[in-house]
């Protein structure tokens, strides 16, 4: 079947945010077309998933399918920040389900299949080229079908931009801002045979994963960087986030691969975890333009969700949950707007306020200070006061494991007594 010329909702991008919004709207009875420029399964980074993701899996009716997939269950996080080793466990925060370490190719494919089953018309290898028109009456988008090599135009009542880092709408409007407080590059790769950190900081061989749930391990790196270590089913995702200047000075002289390996292996506990582990040749990925935000995340006829709506240093693993949340939020705003058209501007504003607050809160957690004169602290605080006690405790405890928590404490501290820090000091990892 070909791409229809007209639909209620057109979604660009088949990652978690796009699939989530599309599924929800199809279940409400709307005609939904989703296009993705590539074919799934496709590889992407961002493997650590917080337990709050299950709430969205429930909403999408995909929980059982995710459970059956058998992703690695994680029990919490262990952080080595400037040689101080601390741990948080999800079960201390009222979560009855675990966090996950997922191969994103598998998770994203599964969510997209779920969208298809809900009635979404999915077209892969189809790229969004340009806006033909966009306004209160709807949008018209020009697409390029990679299979037939033909251009098509699709009209819709609402467009959802879930195009990830390509930020389709922002690129079209020329409104994508890089975040000057986060001038970083990320490099990562997938090691086989790495040891991993389990509860209590006990280091175990890779084969023990089914019997002893891993922790996401995070380490500080030099002055401002950090590293992640995320055991998956067959290998371990390891990445470093370093200042652009550092990468240029020390990375340019050698190969990208050597710079990455040297940095990993010379970083205390991370280096020890990787002793004897193998990194496939040519297997190092690089991401520049590390943090950014578009100037507008909603406008007449469109909503922007997931990474396309802003990307913050992912140190606290919020990416996929934020994507799912934003997909649900856009679905709510669109459904409400179509039911009560006169209220459309109100629903758009509520979408923007919530998204902006959540984005600013993530940014607040990842930055040691921010500009007190901007509206950012106020936006972050408004969103912060919409979240539950146990979720606040989790954010608070997680932020306190790094030296970046000052901002969050200031943002939230004005209103209430600080929640208890539910973290445990481990002194050191236990290599046995």
């Amino acid at each position: 079947m070909g791409i229809p010329a007209q639909t209620d909702i057109l979604v660009i991008g088949g990652g978690p945010a796009g699939s989530c919004a599309a599924t929800q709207l199809a279940r409400l009875g709307y005609a939904v077309v989703l296009v993705d420029k590539v074919r799934h399964p496709r590889e992407t980074v961002g493997e650590s998933i917080l337990p709050s993701a299950w709430k969205y899996f429930d909403l999408l009716g995909v929980t059982e399918r995710v459970e059956r997939e058998g992703f690695v269950k994680k029990a919490g996080g262990v952080v080595d920040w400037e040689n101080e080793v601390t741990q948080i466990s999800f079960r201390d925060f009222d979560y009855d389900r675990p966090g996950l370490h997922v191969e994103r190719a598998a998770l994203d494919h599964l969510l997209l299949d779920n969208a298809r089953n809900a009635g979404v018309q999915v077209f892969e290898n189809v790229k969004a080229e340009s806006f033909v028109a966009c306004g209160e009456q709807g949008a018209e988008i020009r697409l390029f079908d990679g299979a037939t090599k033909e251009y098509r135009s699709v009209s819709c009542r609402f467009l959802i931009d879930a195009s990830g880092q390509s930020s389709f709408v922002a690129q079209q409007l020329g409104a994508r801002k890089l975040d000057s407080d986060f001038r970083f590059v990320a490099l990562w790769g997938y090691f086989t045979g790495s040891r991993y950190v389990s509860a209590g900081g006990v280091v175990r061989p890779f084969e023990d994963i089914p019997r002893h749930a891993p922790m996401t391990f995070v380490s500080s790196l030099g002055n401002w960087g950090w590293a992640w270590h995320i055991p998956l089913r067959k290998n371990t995702s390891v990445g470093i986030v370093v200042p652009v200047e550092d990468y240029k000075q020390n990375g340019a002289e050698t190969s990208r691969e050597k710079y990455f390996l040297d940095t990993c292996l010379s970083t205390g506990n991370l280096g020890r975890l990787l002793e004897g582990a193998q990194l496939p040749a040519g297997g190092v990925r690089l991401m520049r333009d590390y943090s950014y935000a578009p100037e507008k995340i909603a406008g007449p006829g469109y909503f922007v969700v997931g990474d396309a709506s802003g990307f913050v240093d992912p140190i606290f693993s919020v990416g996929v949950v934020m994507a799912l949340y934003s997909g649900q939020l856009a679905a709510w705003a669109i459904d409400s707007s179509l039911r009560r058209p006169a209220q459309t501007p109100t629903y758009r504003t509520l979408f923007e306020t919530q998204m902006h607050g959540r984005y600013q809160l993530s940014r607040t957690m990842a930055l040691p200070t921010h500009d007190e004169t901007s509206e950012a602290p106020r936006a972050a605080k408004l969103y912060f006061d919409f979240i539950s006690k146990s979720e606040k405790e989790l954010m608070w405890s997680a932020a306190s494991m790094t030296t970046r928590s000052g901002n969050l404490l200031r943002t939230s501290g004005e209103s209430r007594v600080p929640p208890p820090l539910k973290r445990r000091n481990l002194q050191e990892l236990r290599f046995e």
């Binding site: 109100t346 919409f386 539950s388």
Partner: protein, 91 residues
């Protein structure tokens, strides 16, 4: 109990059924206890707007208004005005 609070509690108890054994009363701390997140609050607002034929202005969307079923009912009553309240069998 007035019909406003009753509608709110009915909706919430259906929403909370998905969350397990949470019994919701007029003074349950909805946000603090994690019964409602901001997404569910928006869904509740949509429901109330349709049920009571009114529009909740953007400025009312602050945590204080959604702390408990009673504070939500108070906000709705304020938005409805006295005439509608009487018709709905309120105070």
């Amino acid at each position: 109990m007035d019909s406003l609070t009753q509608s709110i509690l009915t909706w919430l108890n259906e929403a909370a059924a998905k969350l397990g054994d949470v019994e919701i009363a007029a003074d349950t701390e909805l946000i603090e206890q994690g019964v409602l997140d901001s997404l569910e609050i928006l869904r509740l607002v949509s429901f109330l707007e349709e049920r009571f034929h009114l529009a909740v202005p953007v400025d009312e969307f602050v945590p204080e208004n959604f702390r408990t079923p009673a504070t939500i009912a108070a906000m709705m009553a304020r938005l409805q005005g006295p005439a509608v309240q009487a018709a709905a069998g309120g105070h």
